[in-house]
Amino acid sequence: MSGLIKSSIARKVAMALSALFLIIFLLLHFSVNFISIFSEDAFNEASHFMGTNPLVQFLMQPILILGVVFHFVMGFVLEAKNKASRPVKYSKYNGGASASWMSRNMLVSGAVILAFLGLHFYDFWVHEMTVKYVEGDMSGVIPGTEHLRYYEEMHAKFADLWRVIFYCVGFALLSLHLLHGFQSAFQSIGVRKFRNAIVKLGNIYAIVIPLGFIFIALFHFITQ
């Protein structure tokens, strides 16, 4: 078992498993957000459930944060190890001749996604934690009313053009990250069966989900 923890294969498998976990989470996140396009009330109900359910808050949320932190930290650790594996660089290296830009620049797309996540956490997560666990208001309602606050707060965030642009750039880089990362995760855990189907599914996921998030951001910006 000690070999499993120390080896290069174990590290890539760990990266792959955390990636697959985040891919599943992203689908769930998108599903909840997409509700906001159709129904303010349904979005509020879904958000209130996710924000107050003890299982989600105290089990799934910490696991998710651990998963995100692990994926990013391991990504940077692997990049540092890989850089050390070639201390003298080529004076001419034509990487584009044999590998896609996405596969060669996962750290670049990952760093942009990390910056996006910083803003995203500041926008929503820090605010939620403050209201619920610092101020102790678990009701989820707008003070003085009986209306749930989630849709209104989220809608207001997308009034700022620069925030919308930054979100769109973040999702575009997320798409590039997933175009390589989705199928790569399956390769890392040794899954080669249904290879063509996995690549196609990965391409669809990598385009549809980020585009969907961009659509949601633009929808709320336009409907201000």
């Binding site: 078992m1 070999g3 498998v13 660089k89 790569s184 040794g190």
Partner: protein
């Protein structure tokens, strides 16, 4: 054709190397790349200069000795070939060609364009074999049924010539394609299954000890490999390694 060559020159493993520019003239498009290098060296020797050191042996694309990074690509711009099979018709009159050794911490430069690839041999020695009885009473190979698919895949993996192009092409200098080919050629056959657990554990351990990078599945190794070794082998090695780790724990 007339060409400008920018070549890495390094006196020995401890010396500081540098790119040096040379001109070669009247190069035939029918020459192989190594023949063009021979022409360069003949000119250097005639002038009393030190010829450029580069690895070569069979010059038929099967020994795995030639190992040049040409214009940023392992074995040059053509596909499915080694440097000795690269022909000058792939270049144009007046081109500048950059020629460098494989770059990897695990492949230190010995001289000029020659690198030490014994790291591959140590990986092979760590488990790339089967312990069979060769005392004269070996079993008839045909007595063990093997499916055509398994035999073909094992043979495809066994075509790896260990040239190191996979390491050279990989942005991480990873040796996973080489190691996985050597693991796969045995893992796919019943004779190799007996020692499969120890083999994959020991070979991966040695691969990591040599200082190769981590695979990030860019696929560059598969594209640049002169023998077309598939990424499928890396996935197989990952499966073998995980199963072996869990079995041993």
């Amino acid at each position: 054709m007339n060409l400008t060559l920018k070549i890495w020159r390094q006196k020995d493993s401890k010396a500081k190397g540098q790119m040096v520019e040379y001109k070669v003239t009247d190069i035939s498009e029918h020459m192989s790349f190594l023949e063009m290098m021979d022409v360069l060296n003949e000119g250097l020797v005639a002038k009393g200069e030190e010829p450029v050191a580069f690895d070569h042996d069979c010059r038929e694309g099967i020994c795995g000795m030639c190992s040049l990074q040409i214009n940023g690509e392992a074995h040059g711009p053509d596909r499915g070939i080694t440097t000795c099979q690269l022909h000058m018709r792939m270049f144009n009159d007046g081109d500048t060609i950059v020629i460098e050794p494989w770059r990897a911490a695990a492949f230190p430069v010995i001289k000029d364009l020659i690198v030490d690839r014994t790291a591959f041999e140590r990986i092979q020695q760590a488990g790339g074999y089967i312990s069979i009885n060769t005392s004269g009473n070996t079993q008839d190979a045909n007595a063990i049924p093997i499916s055509k698919e398994a035999a073909d895949k094992a043979m495809d993996a066994a075509t790896c010539i260990g040239c190191g192009a996979c390491v050279a092409a990989c942005k991480n200098a990873s040796a996973m394609l080489f190691t996985s080919a050597k693991v796969s050629q045995f893992a796919l056959l019943p004779q190799g299954r007996v020692e499969a657990t120890e083999r994959v554990m020991n070979m991966v351990k040695q691969m990591d000890l040599e200082g190769f990078g981590n695979c990030t599945n860019t696929g560059a190794c598969e594209i640049e490999c002169p023998k077309g070794i598939s990424l499928e082998n890396i996935a197989r090695m990952n499966r073998e390694y995980l199963a072996a780790s869990l079995a041993k724990s």
